[in-house]
């Protein structure tokens, strides 16, 4: 297709034709993945809400101190990693490769810290008797849903850290474009976005008041 024809298609009223959304295929592909993955997490969180409403003895195992304070720190760490990622994307767009790579490494450190904190919390809950099929507080379904939701999210964070490592290496070596950094940023922010629903629904709605 001639270059001029492509421009006409992109600049039409709906920007339809060759590139209907006026973005690269990688970015559009990531948006499609994000929407499909959003539905996966939506179904998990709605299933959690369904089971919670249907079981009168649903556990509330998180005392404000230390559980909620701990999970709040996890939330702030993940939010901070989103800020470093957005800085990486901005630096990449300006053509500052070294700066972008440093911000991506900062984001990876945030993600790794989140995983470490989350595993620590899991270990404490497991020591307290929480299992996927049993717990000492109430409905045995709680463990399956808790580990299912938070485990899938933690898996996404771990994949994100690896993905960012690959992007940082490729971008640092000049093999990847700024668009690749932006696409990896989309994924990372999506992981952050999912936690913005997991944190209030799973933790804040399950505070154990003395």
């Amino acid at each position: 297709m001639a270059h001029g024809e492509r421009d006409v298609a992109v600049n039409s009223a709906w920007a339809g034709g060759v590139r209907p959304f006026a973005m690269g295929s990688k970015k559009l592909g990531m948006w499609l993945f994000i929407i499909s993955d959003s539905l996966t997490f939506s179904v998990l969180l709605l299933s959690y809400s369904y089971l919670r409403l249907a079981n009168a003895d649903w556990p509330r195992p998180f005392p404000f101190s230390p559980s909620i304070i701990f999970s709040t720190i996890m939330t702030v760490v993940l939010l901070f990693s989103s800020l470093t990622m957005v800085m990486a994307v901005a630096a990449a767009a300006r053509g500052r490769r070294g700066t972008a790579v440093k911000w991506i490494l900062g984001t990876m450190a945030g993600g790794a810290a989140f995983i470490g904190l989350h595993l620590t919390e899991w270990m404490h809950l497991i020591e307290a008797g929480l299992r996927p099929g049993a717990n000492p507080w109430g409905s045995p379904l709680f463990g399956a849903v808790f580990f299912g939701v938070t485990g899938l999210h933690m898996t996404h964070v771990a994949i994100g850290v690896i993905y960012l490592g690959i992007v940082a290496t490729g971008f640092g070596l000049g093999k990847f474009k700024p668009e690749d950094v932006e696409v990896s940023g989309q994924y990372w922010h999506f992981v952050d976005l999912v936690w913005m629903f997991v944190f209030p629904l799973v933790y804040l709605m399950s505070v154990h008041y003395k």
């Binding site: 709906w14 920007a15 209907p20 959304f21 006026a22 973005m23 690269g24 970015k27 948006w31 929407i35 959003s38 539905l39 939506s42 179904v43 709605l46 299933s47 809400s49 369904y50 089971l51 409403l53 249907a54 079981n55 009168a56 404000f64 909620i68 709040t72 939330t75 702030v76 939010l79 901070f80 989103s82 800020l83 990622m85 957005v86 800085m87 994307v89 901005a90 990449a92 767009a93 300006r94 053509g95 474009k177 700024p178 668009e179 950094v181 932006e182 940023g185 989309q186 922010h189 952050d192 976005l193 913005m196 629903f197 944190f199 209030p200 629904l201 804040l204 709605m205 505070v207 008041y209």
Partner: protein, 108 residues
């Protein structure tokens, strides 16, 4: 590759660090409000409504500014958001009447 060409390749990304920091502070502040609600032991019904509302605002801020949806063509929003909302609404319509029935029968 020039800085301008880089920006084009990255898709009209606004390089405003200050704006991103302001959005981030807003996200942390909303998180603080959510935690405060949990600390104050607000009634579960009110708390759930407010928490979901605040989470939707946070998700909107993240998508609009951090994921650059605000700077993309509006047709993308028209395509993605209604499709997602339709699926979630259908799940809610089919799930929740049943769970509320089970919950009320368990209490009696």
């Amino acid at each position: 590759m020039s800085a301008h060409a880089n920006a084009e390749a990255a898709g009209h990304v606004p390089a405003k660090a200050g704006l991103f920091v302001i959005v981030w502070i807003g996200l942390v502040a909303i998180t603080g409000i959510e935690v405060l609600l949990a600390y104050e032991q607000v009634a579960p019904g009110i708390m759930l409504t407010v928490l979901v509302g605040l989470s939707v605002i946070k998700a909107g801020l993240i998508m609009a500014y951090f994921m650059h949806l605000k700077y993309e063509k509006f047709i993308l929003v028209l395509w993605l958001v209604p499709a997602f909302m339709f699926c979630v609404m259908m799940i809610c319509i089919f799930f929740f009447p049943d769970s509320l029935r089970l919950g009320s029968s368990a209490m009696h």
